[in-house]
């Protein structure tokens, strides 16, 4: 397997992770909207969700940071 293909697959996998986490965030926001519409008690639910979404994005940011950082930190002759 040549390097270019592997590179593309790596970038693809990171993009998919971002997609997944965005999907999770959208889902949680949807659920919050539902709960407001149905007059469920929103407090704890909102709190938990609003903590969870930044957590997911922190994770994907760290992953991206590592990926790009490792790329940049390579020896120049590659």
């Amino acid at each position: 397997m040549n390097t270019k293909l592997i590179n593309r697959l790596q970038v693809l996998s990171i993009s998919l992770i971002w997609l997944l986490f965005t999907g999770i965030a959208v889902w949680i926001l949807n659920l919050i909207r539902e709960s407001l519409r149905l007059h469920d008690s929103p407090d704890a639910s909102l709190g938990i969700s609003l903590v969870a979404i930044p957590v997911f994005f922190t994770l994907s940011s760290v992953l991206t940071y590592v990926f790009i950082g490792l790329r940049k930190g390579r020896k120049k002759d590659v």
Partner: protein, 452 residues
């Protein structure tokens, strides 16, 4: 198929399971696959006929599936939590342990997270949770937090694995593309080390509150109802302590097994077991403190419904399980682990297995008695798990073992680069650190005792 070049490496013991797996690996995998396949059939049968194939009924409408759900997720705690806390506190003895712990978490979370689905009467309607989920239900909180923990622990497992994957890639281990793909171009340059360090520092802090939240939220499934024996404020911390407790026991068992099977006596030394088993002892005492507190409060208040559940556990139908649990969780670890003479590898193995059994019993004792003793005057419920539920339990354990074996087949269970780093830098770093704790050199005083 060519065997990978067995080039000499100071830590070849850690690479051998990957480069030279041996025949017994395939036999065991085959057996596990058969068990798992059978479990799959049993589950399909359950979906076809309905949950009637289990032993659940009214009023005990939750049984093995929920018990194992809590049990498996409980074990996941020690993994990431211990690894993160040990890294955060810069405990140097963590180096051979962290990866094993993190792998436990990742696998066991997936299994545990699957169990509520096994428990559903209509798993085909699972998507309702996503389309119409109600965030006010603790079950939804669970979904969010378990997903967060699973992703966090997977990332926290993967990132410190990158340098080791690079080692495998450079040694030309098959399948080459896998290690190329996962190593993300690691070359060990100083800049790359900095990036990795920073990422790990962020992660090990972020992971801890997530881990604590997971088992707290699982306890809320019970604590948020008004049922006697469940509606207790202590449940959050109680579950977290219990989870860490069972998790440490699981790591210890795994360490002992791998030490034997992979001949890792040089890496997993008695001192590692010593330290971890003292932690296990501390958790045992903590667990006992919480348990004592919970039951004393219930007993002293003497509320009638609470007392029915209380006596059901203390002297009623569940007394054998209750007292076995106390023995397994408290007496056995206390006796075996407080005495240095019995804190040997066999002693630690017995204590750890005892704790795992005891913690499973604790989950049983939390779930069933409160359901079996409804407030209104019904006959006391009886729950006898069916063969289906036992099979699913066995299947869950088999999936865990298989998952772990597959991991160990492709990746080193002990972090090679961290061991190397430890060899090269730890002694100096620790000496510097300890020197900084000592008082600064005294300034010179002039004759009048003032600072020069």
């Amino acid at each position: 198929m060519e065997k990978a070049a067995a080039a000499p490496h100071p830590d070849y013991d850690l690479l051998r399971p990957i480069e030279n797996p041996g025949k017994s690996f395939y036999y065991i995998v085959a057996v596990l696959l058969v068990i798992i396949l059978y479990t799959g059939f049993v589950y399909i049968r359950q979906v076809y006929y309905g949950l009637g194939v289990t032993g659940m009924a009214q009023p005990v409408t939750w049984g093995f599936y929920i018990i194992n759900f809590v049990f498996f997720i409980g074990i996941s705690h020690a993994g990431t939590l211990i690894s993160a806390i040990l890294r955060l506190s810069k405990a140097e003895w963590r180096r051979p342990i962290t990866r094993m712990a993190e792998v436990i978490t990742a696998i066991v979370l997936a299994i545990g997270g699957l169990h509520p689905i096994l428990d559903l009467g209509r798993p085909d309607r699972m998507t309702h949770l996503f389309y119409n989920g109600r965030l006010q239900s603790p079950l939804l909180w669970d979904i969010v937090s378990i997903t967060a923990y699973f992703t966090a622990s997977t990332v926290y497992l993967f990132i410190p694995m990158i340098p080791d994957i690079a080692i495998l890639r450079d040694r030309g281990v098959k399948p080459r593309w896998l290690y190329e793909f996962l190593s993300w171009g690691w070359q060990g340059t100083e800049q790359q080390h900095k990036v990795l360090d920073r990422a790990m520092n962020i992660l090990m802090v972020v992971v801890i509150p997530i881990a604590i939240s997971v088992h707290t939220i699982i306890s809320y499934i019970f604590a948020m109802t008004v049922q006697p024996g469940w509606h207790s404020t202590i449940f959050g911390p109680y579950f977290v302590v219990g989870a860490i407790f069972s998790g440490i026991a699981a790591i210890l068992v795994l360490m002992i097994v791998f030490r034997k099977v992979f001949h890792l006596e040089r890496y997993l030394k008695l001192i590692h077991f010593n330290y971890l088993s003292v932690l296990l002892l501390v958790m045992s005492l903590l667990w006992f403190y919480f348990t004592f507190s919970e039951y004393l409060t219930g007993f002293y208040g003497h509320e009638p419904n609470e007392m029915r559940v209380f006596w059901y556990k203390f002297s009623g139908a569940y007394a054998p399980y209750f007292w076995t649990m106390v023995t397994c969780n408290f007496l056995v670890p206390l006796i075996l682990l407080s005495n240095r003479k019995t804190r040997t590898i066999p002693g630690i193995l017995i204590a750890s297995i005892s704790v795992i059994i005891g913690m499973w019993l604790e989950r049983l004792i939390i779930v069933v008695p409160s359901l079996a003793n409804p407030r209104l005057p019904y006959p006391t419920g009886v729950y006898i798990p069916s063969l289906t539920e036992w099979t699913m339990f066995l299947g869950g354990v088999s999936v865990f073992i298989l998952g772990y074996m597959m991991f160990a087949r492709f990746f080193p269970v002990i972090s090679i680069w961290e061991i190397q780093e430890g060899r090269q830098e730890s002694a100096k770093a620790v000496t510097e650190r300890i020197t900084s704790y000592m008082p600064d050199p005294q300034p010179r005083y002039t004759g009048s005792m003032e600072i020069e």
